[in-house]
Subunit: 213 residues, 2 copies
């Protein structure tokens, strides 16, 4: 199986979004230089990225079919399959994720939330039922969930991950600012807002230092 | 000014979190091997990362002071300064961010939300007032905001960013899945959930392919 760099993988949804916008504007053919200019990447990078996912060979003079690119990217990204996910921790962030309509377009079907708060158990959030954490394994197996989205507080993240894996999770999308130790074969992808903010703050200070000279 | 790699910057808040947990457990001294084991990094990486931010030299046999590490990291990350930020777009994600208590510990003071929805304007979210987008520049200048957090829909993200920059934003923390063109001297840091999900999905398929053999 071919492997892709993280940065490259991260660019594919951005390409896809752009191509869908072009399609909605009635544009049928697009060239690498135009894509590069619009998205702020180099032309070479665009050509390389698209060659890696598209079955259609690049045609330097003619450009690429927008519809074909959309199909290739959706297939590559798994958007045409369906992965069942649950959200553990129905606080502000968990609720926002349960309400986020775009996940279903990305092949991710969020089907339930789990929380320990009796005031939340039995309610619906984003149209999805919220269950007690005690029922996690049972419900995950029933609905065939393989992805657990973790938005629990950091001190209980490790335990929540273990329970999700017991319930059949093959991947943890971890929004809790905690390092998770998981068995081999289970994937952890971290979204750490503090880390993103650290990069932003540091780049601001660099930019300021440059402007001060 | 020293520069740091993105990955390194992203690790610093994770170190800081870990050191605060140690402090809360009453642990005063910590060694690089222990940090490495706990966080899943290599010992060499931990030593290098900490040397880059800590004024205290590493003492291989004695370990490092947890309190000193916390002070050094908080200073480095700007958590001891105060940057004023606003949230543009008070939907589910914007509301979650306005309600997120940890930002103030990170030196980021979220002071207002902005939205076009009359039902939201004039309300409070997370204890912060929500204003009409029309008042963005005025309010940003009044409160001295230099960071704009963008959670508006993707088609209006570019325009929202321009207005924030008019209002004095030096950095855009962009949660909208859109590429932003900004003038030199303005920093954009993107948080793209679709990109993170793409990495997760791809790693799941790699892990599955491996398990199938």
């Amino acid at each position: 199986m071919k492997t892709y760099s993280m940065n490259q993988l991260e660019r594919y949804p951005i390409y896809l979004k752009h191509f869908k916008e072009l399609r909605d504007q009635g544009i049928e053919i697009v060239s690498s230089p135009k894509i590069a200019a619009k998205l702020g990447y180099s032309e070479e990078q665009v050509r390389k990225d698209l060659q890696n996912v598209s079955l259609e060979p690049g045609r330097p003079k003619k450009g690429r079919s927008v519809a074909q690119l959309i199909e290739d990217l959706e297939t590559f990204l798994g958007y045409r399959e369906r992965t069942v996910a649950v959200v553990m921790g129905v606080g502000h962030l968990g609720s926002a994720l349960l309400n986020f309509p775009a996940f279903s377009e990305m092949g991710l079907s969020l089907q339930a939330g789990f929380d320990n708060d009796p005031a939340k158990i039995g309610t619906n959030v984003g149209g999805k039922p919220v269950y007690s954490m005690d029922r996690l394994s049972e419900v995950m197996r029933e609905i065939g969930a393989t992805v657990a989205i973790l938005t629990v507080p950091s001190p209980v993240a490790e335990e929540a991950a273990s329970r999700a894996i017991e319930g059949g999770a093959k991947a943890i999308w971890n929004f809790a600012p905690a390092h998770l130790d998981v068995p081999e074969g289970v994937v952890v992808e971290n979204v750490n807002l503090a880390s993103s903010l650290a990069v932003l703050t540091h780049r601001m200070s660099l930019s300021k230092a440059k402007g001060d000279h």
